[in-house]
Subunit: 193 residues, 2 copies
Amino acid sequence: MECLHLRRRAVVALPSWTADVVRGFRGPTDDAGFMELAIALSRENVARGTGGPFGAVVVERDTGRIVSVGVNRVVPLRNSSLHAEVVALMLAQAAIGSYTLDDPGVPPHTLYTSCEPCAMCLGAIWWSGVQRVVCGATREDAQAAGFDEGPVFADSYRYLEDRGVEFVHGLKREAAREALMSYVERDGKVYNG
Amino acid sequence: MECLHLRRRAVVALPSWTADVVRGFRGPTDDAGFMELAIALSRENVARGTGGPFGAVVVERDTGRIVSVGVNRVVPLRNSSLHAEVVALMLAQAAIGSYTLDDPGVPPHTLYTSCEPCAMCLGAIWWSGVQRVVCGATREDAQAAGFDEGPVFADSYRYLEDRGVEFVHGLKREAAREALMSYVERDGKVYNG
């Protein structure tokens, strides 16, 4: 049977330029500032050709400390699960050394995402233990750029909200939408659109 | 600002024993056989203490070739997204060298999972390009073992089915359920239950 040499590893990696973008961040360390950073990451990811037009940032809610960032890595890393939110949440958990951001003794976190989460990312948000999610562009904006969001319903958000996850929608939507559209203008690959 | 040393990498890795389990697989190379393999992986993952009670296998639908396997790695790798299905799909895409199993020129694939997918995994299934999904234990079985499945609704399945993904439910449910319960009996960690 042809099954002896199965792969056992895959790597989740940010492009090296993301460190410079984070290093260059001058605030403000509030919702508007962190959303600007998420959008800057999405825009730069398109400009550098390192993935789709999505960026995310995980921040300690009360201190404003940046814990991790993520950008979409689907096409370059050949991995359809590497949306910006999943990447940022994985790296945040690696940074704090726990499979949940809701660990006792760990301060609460906020996820900033340049676009409302797809079905997979909404599930990943739920498992991650992140307590607050701030979104830029909307599902409709993503769809206008050719990206499907999958089976996300009003009840999907309600499920998480009923269990204590807070959502903010449409912060800096116009700037976030422009970053999405810059990808379309460059004829970026819309996977599974 | 304390944001200079962000992590840029995370690793998705199977335990080494998975290779032996796959090597020991003697078939049959049909739905029942591959579901047995997924359940064996879930059971062994509990026995070895390498993660939660979930296993998955990706197979070329028409040839029965095993492309990848996955087991739950959430607690050991401190990463709440590493459910068995996500791991198997990531490794399948790594194996074929594409971000979609629905690439032209790539044969159709089936995902076998020892338990019905949670909200995140259902989204990941949609993006992965896998054409067929065979499930063992049900959402209710997972819940009885203390695992929440998140915001998955009848409409969530319908969304994927309407777009051509075929689902089979409850194959070898009893054996799959027993593997889940073996985790509870060992006082395994139920994350975000």
